[in-house]
C-alpha cells in the first residue's frame, strides 16, 4: 500500500509504566523527526496467564500492512510469558513488513538491545566494594525474559567473584511490576525469614515496590537495607531515598529501533543487533551520600600561590568531566554542554569581576532539566563539584571567596526553588489529569446508551488535550468494525464517517486520516472481561500513558454497560413482540371459540331474531346464545370480564353448562340454571384454574305465550312496546357468575309479559361504552333513541342500523360488540 506519509506500528503491552512511556517517547521523537506517523498498539502481554490477561492480545491481530508499513516490537514487555523463540514465531505473521525488536534478541529480526551485564556488574560490585554489603538479595524478572535472566546471571557471577555465598532463599521471582517487589519482601521476611543488608531488583518498579514494603515494616533505606534497581525510571529519582539504579537509555532504544525500521523501508538489509550501553547511577538508596562527588578521588590541589585560573587551567578536563557526570546523573536528557558553559561563566565572573551570567546559565540549565523531568536537585552536585575545585584557590583571596560563596549560595537557592516548582507543577498536572479523568469516569458511567457514551467521550477529549480520536466496535468477530465515534478538533468533517463499516485491520475507514499529515495515535483495545468490544485510537496528547489506559478502562466499562442496556432493550422488545404475537394468536383462538359456537340460523317459532357479535382485537368475552325448545326458547347474553384465551375458555364453559342444563330440563327457571352454573364455573375458575374471571350474565326463558322469566346481572335490557311506541329500560338485578361461591341470595327470577310486536334489545357493554374521539361513551340513552327511531323495521334492519350507528360513532373498537334483537310476534303467528 503506497502512502504519502509512512506509518509505523509500535507493539507494547500497555502504557501504565514509565519504561514503556520512555521507549514510546523515543520512538515518537524519531517518528516526528522523520515525518512518520506512529500507531502504538497496546495489546497486553502475550498469552498472559492472569485472569483475562490475554484479553487485549487481539489488538496485535490488527497490526499489518493494512494499517502500517513497519513495526517496532517492545519485545521485553510482550514476551514475559512466551519467551523469545515463541515471540519470534508469533511475529512471523507480520512478514514481509520490516520489524525491529527492543530489549529481546529475536531470531531473524534486527534488535536493539542493552548491555545488561555491564550495568548490573557495576551495581552489585558497587554494593560489595564501596559499601561492604555481604548479604545481597535479588528480585528476578520473569523466568522467560532474557534480559531479566542476564541480570540474574551477573548477580550470581559477581557474588562468586567476591567470594560471597549464593543463598537461593535470597532470590525471588518477579514480573517487573511494583507489586511483585512488595511480594518479594513479604516472601523473604515473612515466609523464609531470611535477613539481608541489600537488595537488587531486575527493574526499578520492583525495587520501588520493595522499598515501600520495607518502609512499611519499619526499615530505613539505606541505613537498614540498601536497594538498587534497573532502568532509571523517573519515579525512582523522586523516591524518599532516591533510587540507585542501572540506567538503560530507554528513549534511545526507541529512537534507534525506529531508525532501523525506516532504514529497512528504504531497502537496507540489517542483520546485526545494536547494543546500547548501561551505566550505574548512584543515588541515596545504595548508601551513597546526597550530592556526593563522582565516584572518583579529587586530585590533590595545594600550594601557597594557587589561583583560580591556575587550578581551572590545570584541571580543566577533570572539572568538565566531573561536572558532566553530575549533570548526566541528574537527567540524561539535559544537554551536557550546559556544564561547560556553566564552568566558564563561573570562572569568568570570578576572575574578571564582570557579570558573566553564571546564575542565568544555571537557571536555563535547571529549567531544561525540569522540562525533561530530570532530577533538578541533583544539580546541587554540580555546584558541589565546582566548589570543591575552586575552594583551595580562594582561601587566600577573601573578596573572591566572598563573591564565590554568594554565587554558590544563590545557585543553591535557584536549584532548590526550581526543584520545588517542578514538583508542584508535576503534582498540579497529576491532580488536573486525575480530576479530569474522574469526571470523565463519572460522566461515562452514567451514560446508558451507546450514543450517549460516544457523546460523553467526545466531550472529554478536549479537556484531556486529545486532538482527535476514533472509536470502533466489532461487528460479530474482530474482522470487521464499525466506526462509532470520529472526532477531530480541526473539524475536517470526520464525523460523516460515523457508522461506516470497515475491515478492522485498517484501524479506521479509508480516507478518515489525512495521508500527508504525520500523527501519533495510541490504539487501545476495548474489552470487558473476556469480551472483545472494539478499539479506540487517541491522537497522542498527554505524554503520560496512564491517561489513555484510564480512558480505555472507563470507555470499555461504559460501552459494555450501554451495550447491555441496548441488548436488554432489544430483548425486551423481542419478548414484547413475541408476547404480542402470542396474544394475537390467543386472541385469534379466543375469537374462533367465541364465534364458532354462536347459534346459526336458529328458527324459533313466534320470535324474529337478528344477532351479531363483533369481537374486538384485544378484548373478548362476549356471549350470547339461543336455545329453542318445545314451547319455549332460552336466550342468554353475558360478558366475561377480561380478554384473551382464558376469557374465551370461561365463556365456552358457560355456554356448555347452560346448554346442558337447558337440554336436561328446559322448563327449569333462569335462577336455578344460574345457581348451578355459578357453582360449576366458580369452582372451575377459582379453584381449578386459580384465576379470577367473572361474568355478567342474564338468562331469559320466553314461552310461546310471551311470558318471559329472566335472572342474572347484565346490562339493562331495552324493551320496545309496540302498543305505546315507547322504549322501556329493564334492569337486570343480580350477581355475576363466578364472583362469589353462592349467588342464591342475590339472584331472583323476574317476570315480564311480551305483547305481539314488542321488541327486546339485548346488548353488551361494547355497545354502550363505545367511545368516540372525545372519549364520550355512546351510552344507553343514545341506544334507546336509535331503537325508537327504527323499531318499526325488521329485526335484521334494526340490528344493521344499530351496528352501523355504533361503528360510525366509535373511533377504535376496544371491546366486543354484541347485539341481539328479538321481536315477539305473538301466538297467532
Amino acid at each position: 500500500m503506497i502512502r504519502r506519509t509512512r506509518r509505523v506500528g509500535l507493539l507494547v503491552d500497555w502504557l501504565e509504566d514509565e519504561y514503556q512511556n520512555k521507549v514510546l517517547a523515543g520512538v515518537d521523537a524519531e517518528a516526528q523527526a522523520n515525518g512518520v506517523s506512529l500507531f502504538c498498539l497496546t495489546g497486553g502481554v502475550l498469552l498472559s496467564p492472569y485472569r483475562f490477561g490475554a484479553r487485549r492480545n487481539f489488538l496485535y491481530d490488527l497490526a499489518g500492512l493494512a494499517c502500517v508499513d513497519g513495526l517496532v516490537l517492545m519485545s521485553g514487555t510482550l514476551s514475559n510469558y512466551v519467551g523469545p523463540s515463541k515471540l519470534a514465531r508469533y511475529c512471523e505473521r507480520y512478514r514481509p513488513m520490516p520489524m525491529c525488536s527492543i530489549g529481546v534478541a529475536l531470531t531473524g529480526i534486527p534488535s536493539v538491545l542493552v548491555d545488561n551485564a555491564s550495568g548490573m556488574r557495576q551495581a552489585i560490585s558497587h554494593l560489595v566494594e564501596v559499601h561492604g554489603y555481604r548479604r545481597i538479595a535479588f528480585i528476578r524478572g520473569p523466568g522467560v525474559n532474557e534480559e531479566a535472566e542476564e541480570r540474574y546471571r551477573v548477580y550470581r557471577e559477581v557474588l562468586a567473584e567476591h567470594g560471597l555465598p549464593f543463598n537461593p532463599d535470597l532470590v525471588t521471582l518477579g514480573n517487573f511490576q511494583v507489586a511483585s517487589g512488595a511480594d518479594a519482601i513479604r516472601s523473604m521476611l515473612d515466609e523464609r525469614r531470611v535477613g539481608f543488608d541489600a537488595i537488587v531488583a531486575a527493574s526499578d518498579s520492583m525495587a520501588l515496590g520493595a522499598c515501600e514494603a520495607l518502609v512499611a515494616r519499619g526499615y530505613r533505606i539505606p541505613q537498614d537495607i540498601a536497594v538498587v534497581g534497573f532502568d532509571d525510571i523517573r519515579e525512582g529519582r523522586f523516591a524518599p531515598a532516591p533510587l540507585t539504579t542501572v540506567r538503560q537509555p530507554l528513549d534511545r532504544q526507541g529512537k534507534q529501533a525506529l531508525e532501523l525500521v525506516l532504514a529497512q523501508l528504504e531497502g537496507e538489509v540489517i542483520t546485526d543487533h545494536v547494543v546500547l550501553q548501561t551505566e550505574l547511577v548512584r543515588r541515596r538508596s545504595c548508601g551513597c551520600s546526597p550530592h556526593e562527588l563522582p565516584d572518583r578521588v579529587l586530585p590533590e590541589i595545594c600550594g601557597d600561590d594557587l589561583t583560580l585560573s591556575g587550578v581551572f587551567n590545570e584541571h580543566h578536563a577533570r572539572i568538565l568531566a566531573d561536572v558532566t557526570q553530575a549533570i548526566w546523573a541528574s537527567s540524561p536528557d539535559v544537554d551536557v554542554s550546559k556544564g561547560v558553559e556553566l564552568v566558564e561563566a563561573f570562572r569568568a565572573e570570578l576572575e574578571t569581576g564582570t557579570d558573566a551570567h553564571f546564575l542565568d546559565v544555571l537557571e536555563l540549565a535547571v529549567n531544561e532539566a525540569a522540562e525533561t523531568g530530570g532530577n533538578i536537585d541533583a544539580w546541587q552536585a554540580v555546584i558541589t563539584t565546582l566548589r570543591s575545585y575552586a575552594l583551595p584557590a580562594l582561601v587566600n583571596d577573601k573578596p573572591k571567596m566572598s563573591k564565590a560563596e554568594d554565587m554558590w549560595h544563590e545557585a543553591r537557592v535557584i536549584i532548590g526553588g526550581a526543584a520545588e516548582r517542578a514538583q508542584a507543577k508535576k503534582r498540579l498536572q497529576a491532580e488536573t489529569w486525575s480530576r479530569t479523568l474522574r469526571k470523565s469516569g463519572e460522566a461515562l458511567f452514567t451514560s446508558l446508551d451507546v450514543a450517549a457514551v460516544m457523546n460523553t467521550v467526545q466531550e472529554q477529549l478536549p479537556k484531556l488535550n486529545i486532538r482527535s480520536a476514533y472509536l470502533s466496535t466489532f461487528e460479530g468477530g474482530i474482522e470487521r468494525a464499525r466506526l462509532m465515534l470520529a472526532y477531530d478538533v480541526n473539524g475536517r468533517g470526520v464525523e460523516r464517517h460515523r457508522g461506516e463499516s470497515f475491515a478492522a485491520n485498517q484501524l479506521v475507514p479509508s480516507d478518515v486520516l489525512v495521508d500527508d499529515v504525520r500523527q501519533t495515535f495510541i490504539v487501545e483495545p476495548l474489552f470487558f472481561e473476556s469480551e472483545q468490544l472494539g478499539f479506540v485510537l487517541f491522537e497522542m496528547g498527554p505524554s503520560d500513558g496512564v491517561v489513555y489506559e484510564t480512558l480505555r478502562d472507563q470507555i470499555g466499562s461504559a460501552l459494555k454497560a450501554a451495550l447491555l442496556v441496548k441488548q436488554l432493550v432489544e430483548e425486551t422488545a423481542r419478548r414484547e413482540t413475541a408476547e404480542r404475537d402470542r396474544l394475537q394468536k390467543e386472541m385469534e383462538i379466543a375469537e374462533r371459540i367465541q364465534t364458532s359456537i354462536l347459534p346459526k340460523n336458529v328458527d324459533v317459532f313466534g320470535i324474529d331474531i337478528a344477532s351479531v357479535m363483533m369481537p374486538a382485537s384485544e378484548v373478548g368475552g362476549d356471549y350470547y346464545d339461543i336455545l329453542p325448545s318445545e314451547g319455549l326458547c332460552w336466550f342468554g347474553i353475558g360478558d366475561v370480564a377480561g380478554h384473551g384465551l382464558r376469557t374465551g375458555l370461561v365463556m365456552l364453559m358457560i355456554q356448555s353448562v347452560i346448554a346442558a342444563l337447558v337440554t336436561q330440563n328446559s322448563w327449569t327457571t333462569p335462577k336455578e340454571i344460574l345457581r348451578v352454573l355459578n357453582s360449576v364455573i366458580y369452582d372451575n375458575v377459582r379453584s381449578r384454574l386459580g384465576q379470577d374471571e367473572h361474568a355478567t350474565l342474564c338468562l331469559m326463558r320466553i314461552t310461546q305465550d310471551g311470558h318471559m322469566l329472566y335472572a342474572g346481572a347484565h346490562e339493562d335490557m331495552l324493551l320496545y312496546r309496540a302498543r305505546s311506541n315507547q322504549v322501556e329500560v329493564v334492569p337486570t338485578p343480580g350477581t355475576w357468575i363466578a364472583a362469589v361461591r353462592n349467588i342464591d341470595a342475590g339472584t331472583v327470577d323476574n317476570e315480564l309479559r311480551l305483547e305481539p310486536n314488542d321488541l327486546l334489545l339485548l346488548y353488551t357493554d361494547g355497545v354502550t361504552e363505545a367511545m368516540n374521539e372525545q372519549q364520550q361513551p355512546f351510552g344507553l340513552d343514545a341506544l334507546r333513541r336509535e331503537l325508537e327511531g327504527v323499531a318499526s323495521r325488521s329485526v335484521e334492519e334494526i340490528k344493521d342500523h344499530l351496528l352501523a350507528t355504533v361503528r360510525h360513532y366509535v373511533t377504535r373498537q376496544q371491546d366486543d360488540i354484541t347485539l341481539l334483537v328479538l321481536r315477539y310476534r305473538g301466538t297467532a303467528n
Partner: protein, 130 residues
C-alpha cells in the same frame, strides 16, 4: 394521612384519605383499558393497608367516576372476593357512594353489593364528603 398513595394514571385518579377509622377513597376520571394493569395491585395494597391500620370502613366516592370498563371493574370484584375470603372478624365494610344519574353505576355496583350483602353497601352520593 393514609399510607396508601394517590394513583394518577391515564385520566384516572384514586385519592385515598384516612379519616379516623375510615378510609375514604375518591375515584375520578375514567378507568379504561390503559389502567387495567395497575388497578388489581392498587386494590390489593388498599386491602393490606386497611388490614394493617385496623380501618373498619372504606367509603368509595364514585360520583366523579365517569366510566369504568369491565376489565377494570374486575379489580373491584377481586377486592370484594378478597374481603369475602377473610375471617369474619377481619372483614371490614365497604360503602360505595354512586351517582344516581349514572345508570351504569347503579347496575354495576348493585352487583357488587350482591357479592357481599353484609359488608358491601351502595348508597347515592348526595354531594360533599361525609
Amino acid at each position: 394521612m393514609s399510607a396508601l398513595s394517590t394513583l394518577e394514571r391515564d385520566g384516572l385518579v384514586l385519592r385515598p384519605r384516612q379519616v379516623g377509622a375510615e378510609l375514604h377513597l375518591e375515584f375520578s376520571g375514567c378507568a379504561d383499558i390503559e389502567v387495567v394493569s395497575v388497578l388489581p395491585e392498587y386494590f390489593r395494597a388498599l386491602h393490606a393497608e386497611v388490614q394493617r391500620s385496623g380501618t373498619n370502613l372504606v367509603e368509595v366516592d364514585l360520583h366523579a367516576l365517569y366510566f369504568i370498563n369491565s376489565s377494570c371493574f374486575k379489580a373491584l370484584v377481586t377486592w370484594i372476593a378478597l374481603l369475602n375470603g377473610m375471617p369474619p372478624a377481619k372483614r371490614y365494610r365497604i360503602r360505595f357512594r354512586k351517582d344516581p344519574k349514572l345508570r351504569w353505576q347503579t347496575r354495576s355496583f348493585d352487583a357488587l353489593h350482591r357479592m357481599s350483602m353484609a359488608h358491601v353497601s351502595v348508597e347515592d352520593w348526595s354531594g360533599g364528603n361525609p
